[in-house]
Symmetry: D2
Subunit: 362 residues, 4 copies
């Protein structure tokens, strides 16, 4: 079964393992005529790349993308866009010791359970490296969205228990604030505390979890395909499909469980350009269809499972319990690097539904 493709009309298939020759993505269904260059894609990949700051992994991933098809004279042609990123800094030998010893919190054991075979080098297909293909495809989606006035922005709002405060004023320059520090938090004060917390965790051979919020502005009302392919349902799948994500919230999210109907319901009001909503507990989606308000979602990201402390597991070749220590280069926290990946997934969902909406009426 082919689980490596996402989207119905704007569809991406990703491929590649952490320490294989390359990773890549094929985007099928991108409308013809869209201006697209390698630089548009590279820009997003650069945001995903590790090694950007003191708090992320030291592995040097160059991540140079090549566009092999689907673009002619700087425009998309309607044919598949194949993008390839070579794996350069692979050190597969580093993983040999763990070949038969599944790392806690990783997919090592479950891949064996499913497939009976596993490319164990650096996590293989279950590595975060796989997300390079998502980000490349998401870059194409973002260009399509931008033409329709839709912008997708992600940022860290909580890390290691430190919560950020994002004011209305911040929202105007969210992208800039987010990229101004290594934890991608638009609240500079909180960002400082998060960095300290990360340093503490790293020194203790441990890691931290956090929460990322993704906002899409300019989403027109009418996107989403009830009843199963609701916009929020597809967003939930898209975001939960990113490794390390353990929860997805839309709008008021978990808190809506503690509200009364009279608090939760967003009143419709007469706005300058038509219907608006007084509040946005819905997070921009009603009955699975966008309502024109900002689309707001959040993901809970678990702490990096690769920690340097000793951990208990079972050696699959002997069936005996063993203790392992994970060497190598690992981020002490995933949220800052997951930001562009989460944006990419939201952009892919929106691009797909933008096209789907074209067939909703005669």
């Amino acid at each position: 079964m082919s689980g490596n493709a996402f989207g119905a009309l704007f569809r991406v298939t990703t491929w590649g393992e952490s320490h294989g020759r390359a990773v890549g993505a094929v985007v099928d269904g991108c409308p013809a005529g869209l201006p697209l260059t390698k630089e548009d894609v590279q820009k997003e990949l650069d945001r995903r790349r590790p090694g950007q700051s003191e708090v992320s992994t030291a592995r040097q991933e160059d991540d140079w993308v090549e566009i092999l098809s689907g673009v002619f004279e700087k425009r998309t042609t309607g044919t598949p866009i194949s993008m390839l990123i070579l794996n350069k800094d692979a050190q597969p030998g580093a993983y040999e010791a763990l070949r038969h010893r599944p790392r806690p919190g990783h997919a090592d054991y479950t891949y064996i359970a499913r497939y009976g075979i596993r490319d164990h080098r650096g996590g293989g297909r279950s590595s975060g490296r796989e997300t390079a293909g998502r980000v490349a495809a998401g870059a194409v989606a973002k260009i399509l969205l931008a033409r329709e006035g839709v912008e997708v922005l992600g940022y860290v709002i909580e890390l290691g228990g430190v919560k950020a405060s994002v004011t209305a004023a911040d929202l105007a320059r969210l992208g800039e604030l987010t990229e101004s520090n290594s934890v991608r938090c638009p609240d500079p004060e909180a960002a400082g505390k998060m960095i300290s917390a990360l340093e503490d965790a790293r020194r203790g051979g441990d890691s931290l979890g956090g929460i990322v919020e993704i906002v899409a502005r300019g989403v027109p009302p009418g996107l989403g395909d009830p009843v199963f392919d609701k916009l929020d349902a597809d967003l939930a799948k898209a975001l939960m499909s990113i490794g390390a994500v353990k929860a997805v919230e839309i709008g008021a999210g978990i808190e809506s469980a503690r509200m009364r109907g009279s608090e939760m319901n967003d009143s419709l009001i007469k706005g300058a350009e038509g219907i608006e909503f007084e509040t946005n507990n819905a997070g921009g989606i009603l009955g699975g269809i966008s309502n024109g308000a900002d689309l707001v979602c959040r993901i809970a990201v678990k702490p990096t499972p690769s920690i340097s402390r000793p951990q208990r597991t079972v050696d699959l070749s002997t069936g005996e319990p063993v203790e392992i220590e994970i060497k190598g280069r690992h981020d002490p926290s995933i949220p800052p690097r997951i930001v562009p990946v989460a944006e990419a997934m939201v952009a892919l969902v929106l691009a797909d539904h933008l096209l789907r909406a074209r067939t909703a009426r005669i």
Copy 2:
């Protein structure tokens, strides 16, 4: 675009509006040879039916299912199973006053934004009535799962701020405890408080949200199709596609954002029948593939949007602000009735992935 179907191999298409002739489901891809009777499906529909207790809506939905195809001599034949449930107690006239006045918290406005036309009677397709088809299909999935030793159980763990406590001892008789009260909460003491809170809310013309937990036991390791069709990704979509759900958690869920790697990681241990996990923060899924531990998910359900208090909206025929009051019969809280729906969605995902797993190896 066809958003009314769910699943890749075990696939259900639902159809029908709240106040149309009927609602139904077609299950395509159910393996041949499965014992199936009308009673198996009716039993689950009875759990979904409103009017079962003092806290749910007074509408009498008989919900008698008919199996029109796909079963021969009490066994499935591998051909589509078409199930139909007539709408009997429809009172469409009650909705005429709201035809042009979108109810806050409902899909009224967004259906118009998408389709330009809307069957406004009782919410039409966006009504909770649509879930009857899901429950019918889920009943078939449950029988397939039961053959493999998989059981799916849902229950309310929080309602109107009242939290239930579920002990290890309770888990042994979870189904029985859950069905013993009208709020489907396995903790009798909490259930009592929840019922009081609901009565309070109802008297105030208001409604309450809550949290439902769904556990699947006996799930074999190896289910789930990385990278996009991860088991948790498909569960997130399945659950978020249910109306009123605003968040989905797997395992430790939101709390994983506040944990350290050394706390979050579940150690692998040598169990009686192979690998086991010391804890279950992962909620039974690693890298998108089941690990053999209990599968645990939770959904946050918003308060019922139909409340009898006056609410502000805009009349679409005049463009002017108006105040509306919603008459009719409405549950003051959705979680107790959503339990069988959530179970059905989890069962559909597991049945689909059970079949998908058959093709994972040569």
Copy 3:
């Protein structure tokens, strides 16, 4: 696996067995706002119904369709259109004698080989009765196409070796000519000979094959999705999926194998409203995309496998060879009745690709 659905955006799922309670179809993805009544569908079903003439089976199928959902105030709402046709004249007992004796030329043996179980009454799911659902769905597709100026017409051009001659003048009143005789052949002289041939075959306890041509006029250039979902590829699948079809031709079809490039290539010329083609060997499709010329396809239909002559088979309960005679009511030839079914399948493909084309450009 769910093989009972067809189409990507305009998608139909059919269900039902020959002698079960009912057959039906669910159309998902029909754009909102399309005028649709029960009569529109009934009209097409009436064309498919047997018992219309001396040459078709005597079974009385009333085929009254009910539209159970997806239509509100005589327009489609964008939600699934569920259509149901009760089975009234079923005589399942007539098939008991053949329960374990697969009829030559039928799917009896292969259904057992695949599923291990089979609803043997009247062919069950493999019966021609299944096509009622296709015709109902095709009726909806035809209305969508008519709005865009596309018309789909089928007719018998060969039966029992008798070939029809269709002149340019005939093309102007093709529908009328076709429906004027019981073999649906627009050439009245050939029709007379075909009817005689059928009577001969029936008297001899035998049956005849034939060829049906389907033309779609007004197809705009640009429909079809290379490389695998070419318009001709999807038509080939659609038509070959009809029982008894053993070949599909597009344009010059088989004869193109005997032509030279200089004969086969259709020259582009300057027409009144843009590009036209001097000839139409391509059958309206180049590189899998419609070119604006008439779309022309043909299907070869095998003789009805149910013949009253004695035939040899093997009794599956004993494993021994036996001779069988098939009782009951059977058409001596399928082509006349397959015409509306083939039109429906072509209409479904075109409706789907009409919607798909909406996303081909930015």
Copy 4:
């Protein structure tokens, strides 16, 4: 819409243009544990490569394949298999003169009609070069099939009006006979005449069509998913999706239209290992499901549209009629080179249905 992928469970996505950087294929859904090397794929690509003989195009395509993912220690891992073939001998300049002048019989005009933009160099995506990706994917499918005892063989049975005669004795060494001459015809005498006919056509600046037959042996009974995804329906789509194919026949094909039921029906007989069929007019498929007999299909291939004779077309930049002559290297006939492509498509369908059949029963 994503039309560049084929298959439900064993799914290939191809990408790439004739004169872009590379062409390739991603196979998703191949079961884990299958032995696979680059050489297995290269062997099939070598058969597709032009320049093998005096009758095929002189372009030197090296067609070296690289497997970039999905294989570890010479076995598939269940993750996507990405294969890439660089385009080395591209001469895009040769096509500049035809940029605005659609070649008759080619997709030039229709790509513009659909996408408004076209990579005109060498046909771009509509070039036969695209089939390299199909052949690479088909090579993987063939290995999966071989494990189950299924073999797929294609050969030319008619070319330029010359018909081959294939005896029962030939069938035993069909592969060898087919590869023994440049027209891939197992009848050496007919092959000689075909080669002469080709030389004649080439000298006249013209081209020839022909017929290719594909046989699959060892197909187990039970493959195929009625009603729309019948085995023959999927084969028809697969084969018709190859450029230049204008007709697809199964078993007796077109001739079945001229047979009587008593001639067409294949009697079931008691064979050494179970049910067998006395004749094989069905071509191995009944009701869309394989019956265990040899699967037989044929395709009619039109003459190469690129001929050196002057042809009439319209210049799209001026709207005026013009005469063009096509320079460059072109095969005077497609059938010999289409053989491995047709085999690949049949293998892809069978591999997909082999996996699908695993879920047909409980």
